[in-house]
């Protein structure tokens, strides 16, 4: 036998070598294609055609809140149960499950913020072929066709959307387990699929996370978009491979209507998109248009998931704003972050020790660059045992945090969900003894390999586990923590180095469910429990700040996300725009990418351009891989230091606007970072597939320089008849044009929309907290009709008092008839600020003879002013009024 082993040696080695190189190669070969995913292959083999499903109209039940109807598959006689709800706010929910499954199928909990309120449905007509229902108001109708089964939603004479029109509804029902070879699921195949047709639609967006263009591409002949949270090492750009997070929400848009589809399923999911115009050239489309011979453009979408049920929310818009509000009413809005979290973050894997932290902190002061947060990656913990500190490198974490507090700065330390298996480690032994670990299929604790070595994975789907986890953030539990320490959840896809596709085995067990059923929501739960911990430690007073890499629908409620381990390459800089825009469209506004790129080392030019871009993206954090050379902002010579300082300062000056945008996002679900486009200019088809520029809120258009060696950029200024003002030069430009802007290394092309008022704090200090009481400068950009309006939101910047005690200031700033005024928008609120209005800059103004400040008590005073005739800029000197009171300024 010894001889046998010896002889096998070379063969075995060869086999191992193939395996090892296979699983660590930096290419897509690591990850499954649809063909390699058995259920996807099976489902995709099904081609459009006559659906075997038939609606059994005699089973119809219509109550005040819902309609139920049985469907039968005429091939195998298995029955399904269709539930249909008309939801308040112009949405329709369609649920399809087995009528009598052998055991319950997984339905995703904890994503919807409540049981969505319904509206009554009424039956308008019915015959043996189907029935027509009224969808509440308007002229919306739902047509149920019996054979084959199909649903159409119509408004007037127009079909908005059809389900199963291509006959791709497929439901693999639970069967007695069959024990043939290759079936991994103990239940046998359980996948589901459904198709949607969108007549009149040529543009669909969303379903992040993919490193791809904003406008989704058709997948005919290629791979479907995949949604399966994965730790992808050195991800590739411009393809539909799965990344760290998954939000199964797709938006469709045409000049007539915006709609959304929310496929509530947390299992591995694939999305196919096809279009009848995709293959046509622009010329061909023009020809069709001119000849009027074209068929209606149409996009067809097909969703395939490995398990669970079909539960889809059809958000009928009709405007982008409506769709955002509809989705927000289902899954909640962006968490309102502490103001400081919107400032600049300095991160690196790793800041080595307390001295290093102190030196970097000092470096920012020496070079007069503001920052709010310094971050510690995995090396800070004692042997990657999270919630602990390396005793040699960070012997006095509290003193270190106090030192930062003295500068009014903060820190983030990483806490990942893989727990080192080590009986002397409290976190591990408690989780084990409480039975909180995810189990393997044989009932033991699931173990996998991650940063600390052999690790367990807490079952965050268990509410008791989450409550315990949250309690670990209490100041007396998390030793060395303080009020200014916040948290970062990485690797929460979850990442398992020795697992299939670097993640957890699908047959791992969470209570009654298999990991396969809920994989995509695991990361959401990690961030949820962590954010809850940060809230609890302050007795519910302070707002949390938690960054996550993995996410799902609803993750916006718990903090920020970033686009994971990108690279220091120009294309990676460019892709940050569509990646964050896509996330914004489906609720996650607090998005950012590692400034400078995580892997590799950026050239000074790329680093500067990345700072300039990141300064205008919601989550603004520089980060770098352990093996890269240091790249703090002052390490590239005085010129580059100055360029980075200026970019960061622009961010800090705009913090009042950022804060207000997040307040808005939190209140309404409107994205912070928007596609210039179609969100604000839904009729302007030029904007439909643009993703090299974006709007912040409605009023700032940013076209960052993302080309190496750029001498100029061409920005598209939307809005015929509108005007835009360059925020640096105050030069006025007309909307509805492509504008070529020459650029230098210091250029960050940003434009303020005529008709808007933006508050800034131009006194930039070393951290945002230091700027709390500083005065505001108002930038009033007049529309061609000499009108402008904006808002001013102020609160304490870090507690829930704005919500619980209504302690905030929310004001409308409006300019009309040569009068600028500040009026209270929230009469029930109360907050006192020390901030005042130090300057008002009116762009596009004419020269007044006199400027009068009027207070509500009748007091009047003359304001001094300065008029720059060349740019038509009027600057009012020192109105001096408190930012929280009513006032009026009249130009005469």
């Amino acid at each position: 036998m010894a001889a046998f082993i010896v002889r096998m040696g070379p063969v075995l080695m060869l086999w191992l070598a193939v395996c090892v190189s296979g699983s660590w190669a930096v290419d897509r070969g690591n990850f499954k294609t649809c063909d390699q995913s058995t259920f996807c292959k099976r489902q995709r083999a099904l081609k459009p055609g006559q659906s075997p499903y038939r609606a059994l109209l005699e089973t119809l039940e219509l109550t005040n809140t819902k309609l139920t109807l049985q469907l039968i598959n005429d091939n195998n006689k298995v029955r399904l149960l269709l539930e249909l709800y008309r939801l308040q706010g112009n949405m329709t929910r369609v649920k399809i499950n087995e009528l009598k499954p052998l055991k319950p199928r997984f339905e995703v909990p904890d994503v919807l913020i409540n049981d969505p309120p319904t509206e009554p449905l009424s039956l308008l007509s019915q015959d043996e072929n189907g029935m027509v229902l009224s969808l509440g108001a308007d002229s919306q109708r739902l047509i149920v066709s019996a054979k084959p089964f199909r649903l159409d939603i119509m408004e007037g004479r127009e079909v908005l959307l059809s389900l199963n029109s291509r006959g791709l509804l497929a439901f693999e029902h639970l069967r007695i387990r069959f024990l043939m070879c290759c079936v991994l699921s103990p239940s046998g195949p359980t996948s589901i699929s459904l198709d949607f047709s969108l007549p009149g639609v040529e543009h669909v967006y969303g379903i992040p996370e993919h490193a791809d263009t904003l406008k989704l591409k058709t997948t005919d002949g290629g791979e479907p978009y995949r949604l399966y949270n994965l730790d992808v090492f050195q991800y590739e750009l411009f393809n539909p491979m799965a990344l760290y997070g998954a939000i199964p929400v797709m938006l469709s848009h045409s000049p007539q209507r915006t709609m959304g589809l929310f496929w509530l399923n947390a299992a591995e999911t694939w999305v196919d998109i096809s279009s009848n115009t995709a293959g046509k050239t622009v010329f061909g489309q023009m020809l069709d248009y001119v000849q009027g011979s074209s068929e209606t453009p149409q996009t067809d979408v097909r969703w395939i998931s490995e398990s669970g049920i079909i539960d889809v929310f059809i958000m009928l818009g009709p405007t982008p704003t409506d769709v955002f509000a509809q989705y927000a009413s289902l899954t909640g809005t962006q968490a309102f972050p502490p103001l400081a979290a919107l400032a600049y973050h300095q991160c690196r894997w790793n800041y080595n020790d307390q001295e290093d932290v102190a030196a970097v902190d000092q470096g920012f002061d020496q070079h007069d660059i503001p920052y709010d947060f310094i971050w510690l990656d995995i090396e800070h913990a004692d042997g990657k045992r999270y919630f602990t500190w390396d005793p040699h490198k960070f012997p006095q974490p509290k003193e270190m945090l106090q030192g930062l507090e003295d500068k009014r700065r903060k820190m983030v330390a990483i806490v990942d969900p893989h727990i080192k298996v080590d009986n002397s480690y409290k976190i591990h032994s408690e989780i084990r003894s409480r039975g909180f670990y995810i189990k393997n299929k044989d009932g033991g604790d699931y173990e996998g390999w991650c940063w600390p070595g052999n690790s367990g994975y807490p079952d965050f789907t268990n509410p008791e586990m989450r409550a315990w986890w949250a309690s670990m953030f209490a100041y007396d539990q998390y030793e060395g923590s303080r009020e200014n320490l916040y948290t970062w959840n990485d690797m929460n896809e979850p990442s398992v180095f020795n697992g299939p596709e670097v993640t957890m085995h699908k047959d791992a067990v969470h209570g009654n469910w298999e990991h396969r059923d809920l994989h995509n929501i695991y990361g959401l739960y990690v961030q949820m429990a962590t954010a809850e911990g940060l809230i609890q430690r302050s007795g519910g007073v302070e707002r949390p700040f938690v960054l996550t890499r993995a996410f799902f629908a609803g993750s916006q409620r718990y903090g920020a996300v970033w686009t994971g381990d990108n690279a220091a390459e120009w294309d990676h800089l460019k892709i940050t725009i569509p990646m964050c825009l896509s996330l914004g469209l489906v609720g996650v506004s607090f998005c950012g990418a590692d400034v400078g790129g995580f892997f590799k080392s950026p050239s000074p030019e790329l680093l500067v351009r990345w700072y300039q871009t990141g300064a205008y993206q919601p989550f603004f954090r520089a980060h770098a891989h352990l093996d890269t050379p240091r790249r703090e902002p002052w390490l590239f010579g005085p010129e580059n230091t100055a360029l980075i300082r200026e970019a960061v300062r622009q961010r800090y000056a705009l913090l009042p606007y950022w804060y207000q945008l997040f307040y808005h996002a939190h209140r309404t679900g409107q994205p912070v970072m928007r596609y210039s486009l179609w969100v604000e200019y839904p009729q302007d088809t030029a904007t439909f597939s643009m993703d090299d520029q974006f709007l912040l809120g409605e009023n700032l258009l940013v076209h960052p320089v993302t080309e190496e060696g750029a001498r100029g950029v061409t920005a598209y200024l939307p809005g015929n008849g509108e005007v835009w003002f360059d925020v640096h030069t105050f030069q006025k430009h007309n909307g509805g044009q492509n504008l070529y802007i020459p650029v230098t290394m210091s250029s960050i092309p940003v434009f303020q929309r005529g008709g808007s008022i933006i508050p800034r704090k131009v006194r930039v200090r070393r951290s945002s907290s230091c700027m709390e009481h500083d005065p505001y400068t108002l930038y009033v950009a007049l529309s061609p009709k000499r009108f402008a309006q904006g808002e001013l939101y102020i609160d304490d910047g870090h507690t829930f008092s704005y919500e619980k005690q209504k302690e905030f200031i929310y004001r409308r700033l409006a300019f009309a008839n040569n009068t600028l005024s500040s009026r209270n928008l929230a009469p029930g609120s109360q907050f006192t600020t020390l901030s005042w209005i130090e300057k008002i800059v009116i762009l596009g103004a004419s020269k007044p003879s006199k400027v009068t400040l009027k207070m509500p008590d009748g007091k009047e005073s003359q304001l001094e002013f300065d008029f720059d005739a060349s740019m038509s800029v009027l600057t009012l000197r020192k109105p001096g009024v408190n930012a929280g009171v009513d006032w009026t300024v009249v130009l005469q």
């Binding site: 002889r7 096998m8 080595n352 290093d356 500068k407 009014r408 093996d627 131009v762 230091c770 009024v881």
Partner: protein, 533 residues
Amino acid sequence: MSLVKLLLLMSLALVMRAGAAVEIQRPRGVPLSKRQFYEEEKPFTCLDGSRTIPFDRVNDDYCDCKDGSDEPGTAACPNGSFHCTNAGFRPAFIPSSRINDGICDCCDTTDEYNSGATCQNTCRELGRKERESLQKMAEVTREGFMLKQQLIHEAKKGQEEKQVKLTEFQSTKKGLEEKVEALRTVKEIAEEPEKEAKERHLKAWEEQKELIRMEKDKARMAEAFLELDDDADGYVSVAELQSHPELDPDSDGSLTETETQGLLGGADKVDTTAFESVWSSIKGKYLLESQSDPPAPVETPQEEARDLGSDHDSDHYPEDYAGEDEDEEEDEEDDDPEEEEDKAPPTVRTPEKKEDDEMSMPPYDAETQGLVDAAQKARDDFDEAERALREVDDQIKSLEKEIGFDFGPSAEFAYLYSQCYELSTSEYVYRLCPFNRVSQKPKFGGSETNLGLWGQWAGPEDNIYAVMKYDHGTGCWQGPNRSTTVKLTCGKETVVTSTSEPSRCEYLMEFTTPAVCQEPPSLEEALHGHTEL
């Protein structure tokens, strides 16, 4: 509205060196050197001359001047700077963005006059500490500088000594070179007669060996003849010869009469004289009856052969190879290439070898031995001289290398040469061997890692000897080769004071040495050189 009421003017109680207190009025944040530009009751002109404003707009918390000069005491201008007098300590400028930001920057607390921050005036304490540390530093510098002078002196001496040594070595080398040449000639002369005598001796021995062999052959022939001549008639007949089948010329297994007759040169029988020619043709095959045991079986390296064969197979039939098949394989192998070897009996060769071994060359005669001994001595003398020359050469090279090093403008770093300095941290022992290498060894087992080999002086242009650079150390996984930057600071002792790895595989070491101590300024200058009063 809580418009900040600002103190336009402030009273400053300044402690003069002489101890007298004087009150000087000036706007907040203005250094004394610029006081004349801020005259109360007169319009203020921005220091860049860009515009003139009424004096009440100086420090009114609104930025009027592009250069920030109208707001020296508020945070209104983005580019302003604030002057703190810091009586008792050093005066300083801070960016005006640090005024009233809630953080105490000036030790005299003047930057936080309206932020609610409670700052303690720490100037006196800081001043005291600074004086102490300056004093200490001055002391260190002074002593260090003295040590440095000594080092320079020693280095100079050392350098001179080395130079002298070098010169010595060089002349020694010259002598040795001559000696080597002379001895080479002696050696060559001695080797000529040695070679001839040795050749002679060898030739004589060859001739003698041939004679012995011939005699042995004759004896064997005689023995064979006696053996063959069974009837002792003085003739060897055909029948008698046929009793030796090994003589079969066609190797067909039978020695026929005709064949035998052929061997006997066509005759029926031969006498001793005629047998001589017969013997010469049969002696190769003839087996003396006294030694006619069958040849020992050849030891074929069967097992080895099998192993080779099976190795080859394993790739193709790893699972099938099991007990039963073993026999088959063996059989096959038996038919295989060893066949010929089996049939080549080694018996003929073996005795011949023995013969050679038995006959060894006789010792040299006295005359030859004398020549050999003389030559050997000449060779030994030559080798020794050559070795001595190499040694001197090495010493010269090493000296030249040392002299060639850049040990600083006055060779003050020379004393570090061939020394090593260690620093022990919680995990590692770091070792700096100046002008040679830097290394790191884990405290608790594990091998040493090379953190870089001497590269060059790498300080800034005006102070190049402030930094040493060591590079091309052990490579990092997916990273660069390790390198170390050593920063030198003035100290009495020569020690490594700290090490760190600010960036992956790029180490930083701090090292104190008297060699970088500069001539100290007077204490007075150090303490008051920058004060404005």
